[in-house]
């Protein structure tokens, strides 16, 4: 299917993070653009990060979302409040939504209360907020959970609530740290559905996630980054960085059924992970 690249949505340049002089990730650069497809209303961006444990994926996500300070580099995102083309702004805490592995929610708020809280900084009236919440609850299959507390929700329901909450509060960017870890087949299907819903709602929705399941990454993402320890001048370094990038759109592997080419790619990614 024919696709073209439009505005830049996410720009990361030479990002490095260090704790007490100990470099965790270094020189991470990437550019993500809005993709438009012929004959498709909305195509959100789905980006996967894979890599072995301890390579700095979670640190990168925390830096990307503004939760930890950068040692060097910069992160810019599309400024949707400015109508100028390619208007950008630096990332601040809360601009990019973050859903952790445990799908953390406020334990003292019901689903409706939590969603209302995440909309508190918008200019919507109370009636508009209620309408928006009801619309999302219906669309995301959470109608029966409106008055439930997090401890009364299933894993899938918690995850969907956490995603909507971040979507309401952030600027159309959502980072999910290992959203599939520890889930059963049914819950994985629910998360996949959430990704689909996010992609089909807006061209600007950008989902960034990490996973250890390479096949799932290939199935869902349009671009896959491998984070690992690089080898520089024959010496393996101790910090994480992007060691390989696979753009499935340009490779003709996006938006199509799983085939032999996907399997070959899976082997290639695993190889990259093992050597880094």
């Amino acid at each position: 299917m024919k696709h073209e690249y439009k505005e830049t949505l996410l720009y990361v340049e030479n990002l490095s993070v260090a704790y007490d002089g100990n470099v965790i990730i270094k020189d991470i650069s990437l550019i993500e653009k809005d993709v438009v497809r012929d004959g498709v209303d909305y195509t959100g961006q789905v980006i996967a990060f894979v890599g072995r444990s301890g390579r700095g994926k979670s640190t990168f996500f925390k830096a990307l979302t503004g939760l930890i300070p950068l040692h060097s580099g910069k992160i810019l995102i599309r400024n949707f409040e400015n109508k100028e083309p390619n208007a950008a702004k630096s990332v601040n805490e809360g601009d990019i939504g973050f859903v952790d592995q445990k799908y953390t929610l406020f334990r003292h708020k019901t689903v409706t209360q939590a969603l209302k809280f995440s909309l508190r900084k918008t200019t919507l009236s109370n009636t508009e907020k209620d309408a928006k919440i009801n619309e999302y609850l219906k669309e995301w299959g959470l109608e029966n959970c409106a008055d439930k507390y997090p401890n009364e929700l299933s894993g899938g329901q918690r995850q969907r609530t956490a995603i909507i909450e971040q979507l309401f509060s952030s600027d159309q960017f959502i980072v999910l740290d290992e959203p599939f870890s520890g889930l059963d087949v049914g819950n994985i299907a629910e998360v996949k559905k959430s990704f689909e819903l996010l992609s089909n709602t807006s061209d600007y929705n950008t989902v960034i996630f990490s996973t250890h399941d390479i096949e799932l990454a290939i199935e869902l993402a349009q671009i896959i980054y491998v984070i690992g320890h690089p080898t520089v001048n024959g010496k393996k370094e101790n910090y994480g960085t992007i060691v390989a990038k696979y753009d499935l759109r340009d490779m003709g592997l996006s938006w199509k059924d799983y085939c032999d080419d996907h399997q070959k790619l899976s082997k290639e990614i695993i190889h990259q992970m093992m050597i880094s």
């Binding site: 925390k62 805490e93 809360g94 952790d100 953390t104 406020f106 003292h108 995440s118 971040q166 952030s170």
Partner: protein, 256 residues
């Protein structure tokens, strides 16, 4: 039969009740048997029953009411002060003060009560403040432990929803852990109850269970002492169960 003697074996609810009844019956039988003769260290059931009757005639209900009143006033005041110190703990400037308060729990009771006597002259007020000071140190310690146990993800989650640092404190610590405050009170209730009886026996004011137990102790009235111990134990257990019920009834999301 082998099942109830094997570690980690699961048994039915009926069997659990039967075991409990069995132990209670055994305890009562031992009590009757060991106190049946002329000489015995422990008072017989008849002596304890007489103790109960005497205590009731001497206004036991009023004494219980006085003890409970002192207990509730002290817990209320100590909780308010402890919450202030605990909520101030995340603020860098005030953190050391909060931590300093927790260290006071190692101070001996008698030394400090001496200074309180010099400042406060009314016996009842003195009882209240001795308890408040000591309870505050324990409650602050437990409340800070609750805050320390909050996973980092909960703070990150609030920050991701564009909460200011004060909103994070309000949403995650104050509102998010309000049910834990009740549980902390419940956990410290045993210390409160134990201290209350001691304070009532040291500083004599308007009676109370501590006053009664001291009087009985003075005259070696063992029947009364055991009767009082049973009353103190039962009230303590009742308060524990009541507070636990209150927490569950008030906070549906509370699953501690």
């Amino acid at each position: 039969m082998i099942k109830i003697l094997t570690p980690f074996e699961k048994i039915s609810k009926l069997n659990k009740t039967l075991i409990l009844i069995g132990w209670l019956v055994l305890l009562i039988v031992i009590w009757f048997a060991t106190t049946a003769g002329e000489k015995h260290l422990f008072p017989s059931p008849a002596q304890v029953l007489t103790g109960f009757t005497d205590l009731y005639k001497e206004g036991l209900v009023v004494h219980i009411f006085n003890s409970l009143k002192l207990c509730f006033i002290s817990i209320f005041l100590a909780t308010i002060i402890s919450l202030f110190f605990a909520y101030a703990w995340p603020i860098p400037l005030l953190k050391s003060i909060s931590e300093f308060i927790t260290k006071f729990r190692f101070l001996p009771f008698t030394g400090l009560s001496f200074y309180i006597t010099m400042v406060i002259h009314e016996a009842r007020t003195m009882q209240v403040w001795i308890l408040v000071i000591f309870l505050t140190t324990f409650l602050t310690t437990s409340l800070i432990a609750v805050i320390k146990d909050i996973p980092e993800e909960e703070f990150d989650h609030a920050k991701m929803l564009k909460c200011t640092r004060w909103e994070v404190l309000w949403q995650v610590i104050i509102l998010g852990r309000i049910d834990y405050v009740i549980d902390v009170i419940r956990q410290n209730l045993a210390i409160t109850w134990m201290m209350l009886v001691t304070v009532e026996s040291i500083v004599v004011a308007s009676g109370g269970l501590g006053f009664l137990i001291k009087n009985s102790d003075k005259f070696m009235n063992t029947g009364r002492i055991i009767a009082l111990q049973i009353i103190i134990l039962l009230i303590g257990l009742g308060l524990d169960a009541g507070i636990n019920y209150l927490r569950k009834a008030l906070f549906r999301y509370s699953k501690i």
